[in-house]
Structure formats: C-alpha cells, structure tokens
Amino acid sequence: MAEAHPVGFQWVMEAKSRGATVIHVDPRYTRTSAVADMYVPVRAGADIAFLGGVINYILSNEKDFREYVLAYTNASTVLSEDFQDTEDLDGLFSGYDPEHGAYDQSSWMYAGREHEGRQAEQSGQERETAAGLRAESHGPPIGHDTEKDPTLAHPRCVYQVLKRHYARYTPEVVERLCGVPTSDFLRVCEAWTANSGRERTSALVYSVGWTQHSVGVQYIRAGAIIQLLLGNMGRPGGGVMALRGHASIQGSTDIPTLFNLLPGYLQMPHHRQHPTFDKWVDALRHPGQKGFWSDARAYAISLLKAYWGEAATADNDFGYGWLPRLTGDHGTYRQVLDMIDGKIKGYFLLGQNPAVGSAHGRAQRLGMANLDWLVVRDLFMTESATFWKDGPEIATGEIVTEQCGTEVFFLPAASHVEKEGTFTQTQRLLQWREKAVDPPGDCRSELWFMYHLGRRIRDRLASSTAPRDQAILRLTWDYRLHGERGDEPSAEDVLREINGYEVDTGTPLSSYTQMKADGSTAGGCWIYTGVYADGVNQAARRKPGGEQSWVAPEWGWAWPSNRRALYNRASADPDGKPWSERKKYVWWDPEAGSWTGHDVPDFEKGKDPSYRPDADATGVDAIAGDDPFIMQGDGKGWLYVPSGLIDGPLPTHYEPVESTVRNPLYTQQANPTRKVYDRSDNQLNPSPPQQHAEVFPYVFCTSRLTEHHTAGGMSRTLAYLSELQPHMFVEVSPALAAERGLEHLGWAHVVTARAAIEARVMITSRLRPLRIDDRIVHQIWLPYHWGGQGLVTGDSVNDLIGIALDPNVLIQESKVGTCDIRPGRRPTGVELLAYVEAYRKRAGMSGDRYASMLTKDEHDG
C-alpha cells in the first residue's frame, strides 16, 4: 500500500502511531514492509492456503465472534444433502460437468432449494459473459423456512461445513504451501483474532493485484470469510478494503467501462437470456427475493429514461429494445484475440495503454495492427499509439510498417487538472474536481470528445430510419455547453442526470428510494442518487475534518446515500445496541423509534430491531430488524456462497495456472473452471503434473513502483519521475543470483512461452527463496512500467504474461507465472522469435497441446 498508494498510506501510519499493529503479507519486501510491525513473505499464488489457514485457526480455536456470527451470517443455515466438498472429491465440488468445464450448482444450495441451482451449461454461459455474480444481486430467493441450526451442531450447517473444509489448512500445511514458518503464521493469527471481537476491529486491506489471479474472486471471498467470522464487517475500523488501481477506477465500475454491466451494477442484457424487458428486470430483482434489489425495476426504468427521455415509454418498454445485447464473451482479452482474427475493425483507447499495460503485450499489439482504425486519446504518445512504427514486433518483423493497415488517430487529451468532474475513490467517495487550467492546444476532455462524437454521429444519422440507428437518434443529448470556446459540456449537468430527477418538474431526487417504476423519474445510476440532492453538488463539499464529526459526512459524498461504512447495522447488536462503547457507530434509539449514530444508518430508519417479517413477505419488507446485510437474499453475510460464483461456494487452494509446484492438497492442480483461450498464440507454460515444467523453474511476480504510474504514460514522460527509477530492472535474491550467475546491475533476460524480455539485475535480500514442499522456490519480481516510448524506455513485463482468466469476472492472472532467467541481454530481431520458440520446444509445447481443465494424476503429456 505504501508502494502503490503512498498518500492513502498516511492513514495507516496515523493508525500505527495510535497503537495499531500493521502486518504486511507479500511475496516481496516492499516500502510497506519497511514500516510494518511484521512482514510475512509468502509464495505468490498461495493466498487461499494462507487465509484458509487463518480460517482454520479461528474455527478450531473457537476464536470467532460467536454472537455476531450466529446473528448476522449464514453460519447456521443447513446445506443440501447432495453437497460434496473438495475435501471429499479431491479438489472438485459436487456437480462438476467436464463437458462444460463448469458446475451444476444444485447441490451447493441450501437444503430444499436445490431446484434453484444453476445448471452446468448455464454456469458455463455465465462465465462467458462474466455474469456469475449476477450483478451482485445474489441469486434466487431464500425462503423463511430455510432450515437453520442455531446450535451450529448440525453436520450440514455452514459452520460445520466450513470447519471441515478448512480442517486440513493447518499451520504446517500453510508452511508447506506458502513457505511461511509456523511461528510467524501463528503470530499473524493471534494478532488478527486478538484485535477482533466486541471491543476491537481489524481491517483487511488489499491492492487490486490480489484480484489478478485465476482464483481472484475467491481470494477476496477468503478474506471476507475471516472478517465475517471475526465480526469485522459493517463496523468502524473493520472491513475488506480494495485499494483501486488509480483515480476513479471505483467510479469506472459504478458507471462501468465493463462489458457486462450497466450503471449501478445492473446486469447487461443477454440476447438469449433476456429477450424481454420483464425477463431482464426479473433477472435483476429476483421476484420474491429479500432486500433492496427487489426495487430494481425502478432503477432500470429510471436508467432507460435517463438514456432516452421522452422516447422511453411504457409502450416501448422504455426503450429496452434499443439497449445493446451480449451474445457471449466480449471481455477485453476476447476482443484482442478477435482483432488478431480480423473480427473487430475499430478500437477506442481512452487513457488506456494495452501495448504495455495489459497481459500478453504481443497479442495486444498484433491485434491492434490488424484493425481498420484505432483511436488513441492520451496525454502523450503512448506505445499503443506508436506500435506500428517502433513496437517490439517491428524488430522481429511481425509487424511491417508499410503493410500495417491500421489507421491510427491520436487525439490529445486533457489531464485531470484541465477538466472538471468527479473522482470516485476506494471508499466510494465522490469528490468533485474543479478545472485548474485550460488544456493546452487541441487537448480536450473525455466528456468533450464523447459529447461531440455523439453529436456528429447523430448528425450523420439524422435522416436514417433504420431501427438500429434509433438507439442513438433517440438518446437525450442535451447537456449545456460552456467554457471559453463555448463547446465544453457541463459536467455538473451530467452529474445531475446521473443523480436522477423527477421527469415532470426536473427536481433532483434525494434518494434512490424515490425512483419510480412508472417512468416518472429518470436517473443515470441509482446508487449515485443523492449526490445532487437539493440541487446541490454534494460531491463538492469540502468542510475540513476538524469542523465536523470524525466520520466527516460533509466531505464529498459517498454512495449509497452518503453512507461511509456499508452494512453498518452490524455495528450494533441484534437488539440495536452498540456491541461496545468503544466501537459505537450506529444504533437504535428506542425513544425516537429510529436508527441513529455517527454515520447514515444502512437500514430502514424506522425498522425496529425486533421486527420480524411475515412468512410471505418479499423485498425490503422481508428484511428482519436484525438482518444487516440488506442487499443479500437472506439479509445475512455469506460465509458460504450457495449461488453467484462459478468456481465454488468456498475458496479452495488451487495452484496458479502456471506453477512450479504440484498442488499438495488435491489431484486437481488449478481452478477447474478457469477461462482459457487455447490457441497457438496464447500458450501457457507447463505446470506439474505436466512434463517439462522444469523448463520454467522460477516464479515471477509483477507490480508497481511508487515512482511510476501503471504503463508509464504519465510518468516515463516526466523527467522528475523518470530520474527516480530510470531503468527497467528485475529483483532477485542473492541465492538465485548465485544459482544463475547474475551480477548486480548487469543484464539478465526473463523467458516465458510468450516472450523474452531484458532488464538490469537488482540483487536484494528483499526477495527471499521459500521452502515449499521440501524444496526451494525462487521468486523474482519485476515492475511493469516500461515500454518503448518516453524519457526512459525498456522492455514490458506484460509481454511475459499469457491470457488465463478468473471465471467469475474474467480478470487475467497477471500477478504470478513461471519463467526462466538467464544472465545477459536477450537476442534481438528474428533471433528473438527463434529463442522463445526453442524454449517452447524444450517445454514440449509444439503443436496443439494444452493442459486439460481436469487434472489427472499421471503425466498428461
């Protein structure tokens, strides 16, 4: 966190000065480790083993916050008789269907709900469209009659299933898998549990590299299980904090740049699964389900009204027919492969530099070289704008400038200080940003570009009667223009539209609960409703912390409803009293008959803690007075996830897709539902039990340096930052340097099945060899900031990485892989291709030979 988020890290340092213990778990000793109270080196890709070990420690020592767990989680819910665990099936859960590479999830359900489970084919389709999480709306209804055992003794209750699942994740197994000495591991467990419970809370903080694994979602799930067991959710000082990759990445999921979502986490409709408006809305709201998703019809209609205004009417399903549809996998990696295959003709890159910043750089560049046109909007000429004349494939002859047909349009962009708008940060806080200076020359904001592009397209189509053009022609496109040139759309107008308003009067809405399903309200993103309450830009509030309560509700605006901590009903006990005076946050005031406290209560204000819904209640009414997790189908925090995940209801240790280690726990080596693209331009290094894994004997890990920003477009172009880290380098331990004959500051090159890249060697004790399963595993680390443009240039680490994805969200496994490292520089030109090909041959990768999803015990090749 100190490495990639130094400004946010000031709060960790402040907590530390006030007595907090800071523990840092990471493959590499970083600037965070330097100031942590304890640093624990782990093997990259073994995090579920580590966290599973913590879960096992909690459960086998009964360190869970039992009252919290009983009241607020699904620990007592009884599972289907048909459920079988990975511990029973050697690394698979019940229901695996080899044909679809996915699970029939019926047996994962709560007892009596088996019929609600996804079929394997359906589950496989959801993987294609990253729809497994179903927009976080958590699946089918959970009846009030679901069997529970408050004594937690029932062998099929979640608590007991959890206990059995993690029983094998002992400190000794953690040591064997992660390379963490038992004594260190137990110190972590003791510190975490001792600092959690009624009087104390612990926060779990991760940076988004944690998600970049073929089991990325399950990493986070494992952390969430611990935090629920210890009562650290919905309480001050607790939580699972995702440190997003850069400014407003949270905003770009809320108002998404993702192919599978619409604003406010509404699922993107699929052409076959959601043929009608009602089918789509029902997929969002799950009729009969508990919780606030039951009002999704109002959110959806308000969104369509924001898009199409008067043209969206009840008669035409509010324009649902104009919404684009998913037909399958349209994820960023599928797109790149489709470009290589000539299926995609045009590509917009807005502040994105995939030639350096995305996995498998070579595929990215070859894809872009096979387009008709490419638009790059950036502050500087990035590698994605110049690959056609000086990318690495020019040297190898794979791209020939004269033959490259891609027409590249480079459009200079305004930087964040040259335009107005909001950033949404990791805490879901929207902060309004004023324009400080006008952008120079032809530089323009994204808003300007999109608005005027839309305007021009609409002009061109004006006379069209083609149905497909109506979606664009009927859009409301009426933002006020201002600024010196008089052509800059008002960002406040956009924010007002996002907030939502009454269609008749234009009065801004103050809460999403005011959204109507009859077309009388419009709103671009239901969770942002309130940011423009009372016609005031609430995100622009900047009252100093010293002039308001410690929760600082008048600094910016947090979604939803300016709530700073989600699910904060859990900060009070089932009766509505604070768990402790020390951790008081929101509570029930019986005299006033309402919830009150330091933050905006995440609960219906007047709902008494003793409220119990009728048996047939649905939606918000079905949430009991002591159900804090109001977005969940049963109002509970889910230790066990019966539906919503493609790869299993419980996190289980699988090895990374590329690993030097045979999975010590199960025959199944890697995630059996991972998303792979088996093709000759995306070969993956062999891993045990495949043969020839020894050709790539080392583990590599990649991340950021404080001094640079992501793919380097905003830092390698600046002298003051470039001089601080002027050269691409690779960090190795003294032991590995000796083993491979690497010299400090000398050159080395790193090889995978995709590429060989070169870097200067930094020998440092900050990297340590680990003892895994009775042998030494060496890990190397590389920063991913370099490319061919800018003041300081170098090879790109992402060229090393192949495309293998998590099945739930289609994020790439880019934080761990296998490689070889050799002294000296890499070959150049066509010799480089031959060099990498020789490695592939030695690894037995010639021809179409790909690892099967299911691992057999013998060598499979």
């Binding site: 100190a2 890290f9 000793y29 330097a34 003051y720 001089e723 601080l724 002027p726 500051l745 004790s765």
Partner: protein, 293 residues
C-alpha cells in the same frame, strides 16, 4: 558580528541583524515514519524549478538520486540492512552475543530524506566572499542566485557536503527551505507533500521538543537506537536548523557522525595569527632598534 558568529547562537537571524526576526524555523525529519515515496524530492524540484539530475540506475537499493547536489535538494536514502547471521549462543564470545542482541533482529529497510541542515554555524555562509549566501530572517541559509559568482569556496566549507556547483552554470545551489514560500506564510514544498509527516516544518524549538518526545516513545517501544541527529546546539555546527530522528548510526545513512564547521576555529586562529604578527612586528622593531645601536 564576528563574536556572535563564533559563539553559540540561540538566534542566528537576530545575530545577523534582523531586528524583528520571527522565531527560528526548521525541519524535523522523522525517518521512523518515512515510506520512501520521494514526494519530497519531486515537490522540491517542481516548486524550485530544479533541473533533473540525470537518468542513472545506481543500484543502491531504490536510491537513484545518489546524494544531495546542485540538482537534488532533497535526497531519500535507502539502506537495506540484511539480518545478521545468527550467533551460536554456545560458542560465541559474550561480546558477540551482546552485539547481536543490539543489532537489528531481522532485515531492515531504512529510508531517510536528507536536506541542507541550515546550520547555526554555517560554513558556507562564513566563507562566501560575495554575500550571495545569507542568513534569512527565518534563520535559514539561502544562496542568492543573482549574486553568486561561482567561486566555489562554499563547497568545501560545508561539513555535510550539501552545497554544490551546477555543471555548466558554475553557481552554487542548495535547499532554500522554500524561502519564497515562507515569506507567504506557507510551509516548504517537501514538508507539504510528505504524506506521512516524516518531514515536519515549524518553529525549531518546538520541533526539538516534539522530537525528544518521539524518541522517548520509540525507545519505550523497544527501538533502542532511535536518536536525534543535529538537534544539539552544542555540536560542531551549533545545532542544525534541519535535524533528524535516525534509527541507526549516522554513517549508515551517509551522514558524518561528528560534523564540525571548518570555520569554527577561525577566531582562535586569527587571534593566534594576530598575536604572532604582533610578536613578529615587535621582534622586528626590537631588532631594528637593536640594529641602530
């Protein structure tokens, strides 16, 4: 003036003739909370328009600045201290055991943002023949770029090796403690940018008190080697306007352990030289007088 310069000064600005000088200000750099982000280096260069210092990979951990220079007025040192090899308690001599107990128990990565010390007895200022270097009303030491003639006398006069001549320019450059910002009531750029309050700016006497408390706290927490560097008014430079909390010996961070301003002994030397000259003159007079005899 000469006497003031050479005695312990509690108020350098007043001694330099600023009758209404505000209280002396300075930096307290607490290395125990430094995260090595180098925001201080960048903020300093941005504010003061200092040129870049070249794109050289130095291989000294994450330090590619190397040291303070004409083109780097803040410098973050990175010191990787490997854990000492374990000492065998049976065979090792008692001294080694004691040393091992004192030494860092595990790998450590020390970070420290270095800067001009703005000495109470500033050698650079003492030797400057043009008056380009002067004592400001805030008791800091600043070079005036429009007066400096590039003679370079100040360079060897600095006991810390801070002030430096810029290649191709010849003039001497160093930290001004953002003199222009202080005049407007702002904090220096580095302290403003520091996210963890490792660099604290303020009234020097208060910073010293604060630093003493911080050392006490750290020692209570078992950081036995935490100590202040440059906070003692009786040291060889009369105490620094920019002082540090270090976690190891100064040498570990590349700082001189016992800096002494080269001009400290100047008065005594002048006094002796003066006496010698007088004696010689007297002797000459005597000899001439004698000669006449």
């Amino acid at each position: 003036m000469t006497d003031d310069l050479l005695d312990g000064l509690s108020d350098p600005a007043r001694a330099a003739g600023w009758a209404d000088a505000p209280p002396r200000v300075g930096f307290f750099t607490d290395t125990s909370v430094c995260i090595g982000c180098k925001a201080c280096e960048v903020a300093c260069k941005e504010w003061n328009a200092v040129p870049d210092d070249g794109f050289d990979l130095l291989g000294t951990s994450y330090d590619n600045t190397g040291g303070l220079s004409a083109n780097s007025w803040r410098h973050v040192a990175f010191v990787e201290q490997p854990a000492l090899p374990p000492v065998d308690p049976v065979s090792a001599p008692v001294d080694a055991l004691a040393a091992a107990a004192e030494a860092t128990p595990d790998f450590r990565w020390l970070m420290m943002s270095d800067v001009c010390k703005h000495c109470t007895h500033a050698g650079c200022l003492d030797v400057c023949p043009t008056g380009a270097l002067f004592r400001t009303e805030f008791s800091t030491v600043v070079v005036q770029e429009d007066i400096c003639n590039g003679c370079g006398y100040c360079i060897p006069a600095c006991p810390y090796g801070v002030i430096d001549q810029r290649a191709g320019d010849g003039r001497a450059w160093k930290c001004t403690m953002c003199y222009d910002r202080l005049g407007d009531g702002l904090s220096p750029a580095c302290a403003t940018a520091c996210p963890t309050e490792s660099i604290q700016f303020g009234e020097l006497s208060r910073l010293r008190e604060k630093a003493e408390r911080r050392v006490a706290t750290l020692r209570e927490q078992g950081v036995s080697r935490a100590h202040l560097y440059g906070a003692d008014p009786d040291d060889g430079v009369g105490g620094d306007g920019a002082f540090f909390l270090l976690l190891d010996d100064p040498e570990v961070y590349g700082l001189p352990p016992d800096p002494v301003v080269g001009t400290r002994d100047l008065p005594a030397m002048w006094k002796r030289a003066g006496l010698a000259a007088l004696a010689m003159a007297a002797a000459a007079v005597v000899s001439f007088a004698g000669g006449r005899r």
